[in-house]
Amino acid sequence: MRSKFFDLITALNGPQTVGTSPLYWRCFAIACGLLLLYPIIGEDYAVSNNGFLLVWVFLGLSVCILWGYTGIFSFGQTAFFGLAGYVYGVLSINIPPEYSMLAAVCGIALIMLLTAIVGYVIFYGGISSLYIAIFTLMLTLLAETLLSRTSGPQFRIGSALLGGSNGMVGIPPLQIGSGDFVIVFVDKPFFWLVAALLILVFLGLRFLLNSNWGYLMVATREDPLRTQLFGYDIRRIQLITYIIAGGIAALGGVLFASWNNFIAPSSMGMTAATLPIIWVAAGGRASIQAVTISTFTLQWINQQLAYGGGAYSLMFFAILLLCTVMLFPQGIVTTIEMALEEYLERRRVARLEKSPLLGGRL
């Protein structure tokens, strides 16, 4: 039993993710516990709002595993995020509320199918990574433009009005069960749902990244040609990673639409496409933990700036991006993490030097 548990932890540890020590995992367990206990002590509004901020982390993680680990720079994750919201909205408006979980699953599956098609075109065509960036941005902007044109009563699917640039309203929240046995995921239950899903996705990604597949992803990023010469089909690696990342973004989109009860084309606009890139670049593109921290923090800052007038918020993010690129190419959180690691290592060595086992010298 005990050894099985440690096998599990070992599968989650590896060079691809930060933090392998028992100390790290103790801190991680405490953090998860606090996250799940927080709704009990927090106020309804604050809990609901923080749950909403956590939703963005899925989008950040989606960009992170593509860009940071596989070297695919995609502006398009926000399109999958937004489209998943639309699909969930259309389905859940048209079916009774007790099946809303089914709508969520269908939404994510449909978006993964879409990412498979898009991914097939870009990876099997063999275009350069700069072209992938502009092609995915183009798709995002086109999706926004087309959905903005859908105002008017003729654009309806079942009883769901697409609503043009004003967006689709009246999307029901997620729920389980019906009648007396019902949990509707709003406020505190919503936070629990998001936090639990986030911990699952985070640990799942740690497992994936430290498995053989993770090594293939990193190899594709470091040197696609060499990976190919070793006999791996990098197009397949890129395509499957793209589909996984699309699924994570779609999960975020479904949660977003369910919290907001509303989804609009602006969730796929220029600004929306930019923000995930900034979270990932500023946090540290090659670390899912850095991205998780930076996404939550930056979205919190974004919200605070929005209360004071949104005009300065985008300016702040652009300057942050420029500073990151010029001064901290590895990301701000990753730079801090590395400094912390160095400090701990130096302390460990200093203690070793003093220990009697080594006779006071190393």
């Binding site: 720079f73 075109v121 870009i122 099997y124 065509g125 063999g126 275009i127 350069s128 990574s129 700069l130 072209y131 960036a133 502009i134 092609f135 941005l137 183009m138 798709l139 902007l141 086109l142 433009t145 087309l146 044109r149 220029m270 930019t274 890139i277 670049a281 005009a311 300065y312 985008l314 300016m315 993010f317 652009a318 300057i319 991006l321 420029l322 690129v325 010029m326 190419p329």
Partner: protein
């Protein structure tokens, strides 16, 4: 029938003008300049300002606006972009950040709406429909830009050095070409052409800080379909996409045109990942 011809002509000149600056920077320096949209917007805003506040003639304001955009481009190259030549993707991010900073700065300074300026020339009629002379003038400008780029790259010392550096930068550097100075000039040229585009379209469209956005994704499409060659790319893909977009817009509406462009781009990515430039190379190699 003249309507179709006019629509294709207008789309062609729009695509050529909005892409050439981007394509030159991409072709020579292998950098995708995401600040392109903000240079276009700067050109338009400066034109509107010069015409409405300083009472200049439009035809004097347009070249001045292009010069302003070129100067801003040169300044940014000197201070920021030249530090990132070895990190292509970071270069993309930096120009993207610059784009947002310029757009937000103009927004905070001037607000969203700008005074409109009058469209020069006037209109003429064919049958019942009215058409603008200014669109024909824009077509002339697009043709002029293409010819000027051709002459610059084919018949000047600068063009010779640029073509050498495009083939092999280290070798050109070794043979005594100052590629640093050349890249500065190229970036300023690309920014200036973007500014010119914005200035030329300022009388046709409402000018706002987000003016450049509507050019951006079409310019990207032309770049993907055209490939890396700064002359063949914009020319051939503008002809092709102008035909498709103009034709579909004339038949149905602009949504059909946009979807048509998307489909063409996807087919190109799958079949000809290097665009028309790749096709051109294949044809030339066969000869």
């Amino acid at each position: 029938m003249f309507g179709l011809f006019y629509q294709i002509l207008a789309t062609f000149s729009f695509l050529v003008l909005s892409t050439t600056g981007l394509a030159i920077i991409f072709g020579v320096m292998n950098i995708i300049n995401f600040a392109h949209a903000s240079f276009i917007m700067l050109g338009a805003v400066v034109t509107v300002y010069l015409v409405s506040a300083a009472n200049l003639s439009v035809f004097l304001a347009i070249p001045l606006a292009a010069l302003v955009a070129a100067a801003v481009g040169a300044f940014l190259e000197l201070t920021l972009i030249r530090r990132l030549y070895n990190r292509k993707l970071d270069c993309l991010l930096a120009t993207w950040a610059i784009n947002i900073i310029i757009v937000q700065a103009v927004f905070l300074w001037l607000g969203t709406s700008q005074p409109g300026i009058d469209q020069p020339f006037g209109s003429f009629k064919v049958g019942d429909a009215a058409y603008n002379y200014y669109e024909l003038f824009l077509f002339g400008c697009a043709a002029l830009v293409l010819v000027a780029v051709f002459l610059l790259f084919r018949f000047t010392r600068f063009g010779l050095n640029v073509r050498a550096a495009m083939q092999n930068r280290d070798m050109a550097e070794g043979l005594g070409t100052n590629t640093t100075a050349m890249y500065l000039k190229t970036f300023a040229l690309g920014a200036g052409l973007a500014g010119l585009t914005g200035a030329l379209y300022a009388p046709l469209m409402p000018v706002s800080p987000y003016f450049g956005d509507r050019f951006l994704w079409r310019a990207f499409t032309v770049l993907i379909v055209g490939g890396a060659d700064p002359l063949i790319g914009p020319l051939m893909s503008s002809v092709a996409l102008g035909g498709v977009y103009g034709g579909l817009t004339w038949l149905w509406d602009s949504v059909a045109g946009s979807i048509g462009i998307l489909l063409i781009t996807m087919i190109f990515i799958r079949v000809l990942p290097r665009g028309f430039t790749g096709l051109w190379d294949i044809l030339r190699a066969r000869k």
